[in-house]
Symmetry: C2
Subunit: 415 residues, 2 copies
Amino acid sequence: MTTAEIITIGTEIIAGQIVDSNAQHIAKKLTEKGIPVLFQTSVGDDKELLKSTLRIASDRVNLIITTGGLGITANDITREVISAFFNIPLIPDEESRIRLQKYFSNRHTNRKDEYRRQCLIPEGAIALHTDNGIATGFAIHHKKKEIVCLPGSPREMQPLLHKYLKIYARQHKAEKGCLVTRNLHTFGVSERLVEDAVKGCRTNSGQTKAITLVRGGVVTINIHTTAEKENKAVRLLDKAERAIRRKLGYAVFGEGDETLEYAVFVLLNKKHKTIAVAESCTGGSLSDKLTDISGISKFFLEGVVVYSNNAKVNVLGVPEKLILRHGAVSLPVAKAMAKGIKKKASADIGVGITGIAGPTGATPGKPVGLVYIAVAKNGLVRIRKCRFAGSRIDIKNYSVNTALNMVRLVLLDVM
Amino acid sequence: MTTAEIITIGTEIIAGQIVDSNAQHIAKKLTEKGIPVLFQTSVGDDKELLKSTLRIASDRVNLIITTGGLGITANDITREVISAFFNIPLIPDEESRIRLQKYFSNRHTNRKDEYRRQCLIPEGAIALHTDNGIATGFAIHHKKKEIVCLPGSPREMQPLLHKYLKIYARQHKAEKGCLVTRNLHTFGVSERLVEDAVKGCRTNSGQTKAITLVRGGVVTINIHTTAEKENKAVRLLDKAERAIRRKLGYAVFGEGDETLEYAVFVLLNKKHKTIAVAESCTGGSLSDKLTDISGISKFFLEGVVVYSNNAKVNVLGVPEKLILRHGAVSLPVAKAMAKGIKKKASADIGVGITGIAGPTGATPGKPVGLVYIAVAKNGLVRIRKCRFAGSRIDIKNYSVNTALNMVRLVLLDVM
């Protein structure tokens, strides 16, 4: 059974200057392939500390994946430390040399020689290349251990990891039972309800397992099944998924990397509908999320951020007396915003969000976290009064996710 | 000399379901206090693996900080493992009990008994509390090692870490030389230029050090100085900072946690200016960033996301013939957008951004990453043509940062 440790190398990580998103990416991909990650370790650009980290890792797992330290500066120590630790000499990789030559053929640099270091890999290692960059990664098999070294730039690391995992899958196909995993994302139901729905699909034989995880109001179910053969494992997984979907219905909005905004995009495309949004407390965050999706420009007509009362009146035609009577943060104003932006942009769907993101701005009866969301379509306006907790950023985020989910349900004709 | 290891505990981390931002936060705070972090380790909710992790950590550092596993579910194993590993019994902490009682006095739950587990701490430990939640953290001194256990929720973890670091500072005051650090953030100059400016401030005696780090176009300089006494170290740091600022001038926009949007907010406030923004390819991301700042509502009047040509014409009054002649992604259109939104919102400053965020949408002569940014103020429009590389999200992010920096320079009257 393969077990893995991920080692991220870099003083910027160990000093807390950047979040280690590489470790998360690699852990996710390994887990999806059924390789349990037992440890993640981060260490600075220090030869002795890296060596001791490798020593510990090779005592406790059989697959070690490192990222970082494959560049050309003095701080890039991974190649040399791996070579010294496993006592394998470094030799130039021919394909890397050719790629580098090609790369520099139309570029001017006085650092060509320094870059030659990037072509060095341990003797007997498999070199890993990507068209996204000039770093060379590599994988070595040494005394029943597998060591894979990847660059630190995510743009280069991710395709190289993908390549390695293909090699891994080929080599380990026959060895073991097959594990298949899938993530289902839900919104609008509590974690407790999701937990109850998930319980039934867990099998006593332990072939099917499921765990839940909450983030930004999204409850994700991670289902994994094991069986001797892949098609059996997939069958089990499909069965579990069907059971969960039956119980949770429209609360399930996507799987894998699918986000709420992606689910909305797919539905807009399917139903040939256009959308426009008017935001107050979320300050453009809903527009920002929607426009993260490539291809949305066909359906997303316009967004406005109407922070001031003036803008609400002048831009969206919200009646001034409505604001005076109910306040800017109120149900009637959210409704008028949704209808106003729909009309203004000639869109099929209009969204209005108004609330108090905090930490200041609360008034008697209107606490921080109070948010009204309205979705207008076909002369009907669906509304929701929410009360969110957390920081300013949390409240913006919950509000945007709730609005996206409302749009999704409206497009599905179930709200 | 204190050296630290951070251990984050949780299967959701080890399986790659969430990014481990706690480790980064703790590493940053320790580094700022002059405590070098040698290792960060993540491990799942597994008693034996956590024990082995503690064994390794206590062999290689003298300060261990853990997060996670202090809740009330079966997966919360930290308290019990610490107790077993160091052979110290768990006892109820009186203040925690009182806090819990108070918390439940106006809440209904049938899980009161389960929550009592949260009051248990190792005998002799210092309990750490926060008003942000009901988790109890603790710090133990055991055989010259310091072990600090914090909850996994950032809202609870961060104030408890802060409390612990105050205790640490009191205890270690006399022990060692003082290290002071500061981060300076720059924008608009290359890392190489920043590196050159930084070189001169490094002292031969090694009392002053500086490293640079790039993210989203922002180049951050981390300066640290050491001296016997704190005021000497601060004097050295101030000197280094003055030298760097002299060389880099207006490229330095902030320090510590200050962002470009915060720098813009401070200047808008100081100069009593209002702003409105018109975004195409950035899709609301500029508005979103500005409205992350609490208090911006006084200065940020309006944002529009004009994805379609129609919206550019109807909402902003961009002349249709301009779009026909030059295309929507062009300098004249960016200018017209900036002037249009400025006029529409009666703002002092108007920003227009148009470009191709990709991955599709490139046309001959207009590649992915081509972005035009315009800032209008007092009848003058400053413009910039940019060519960014990376993913759709990267390009949105670079564009927003470049626009924010242009607004900053315009407000400083240096652009």
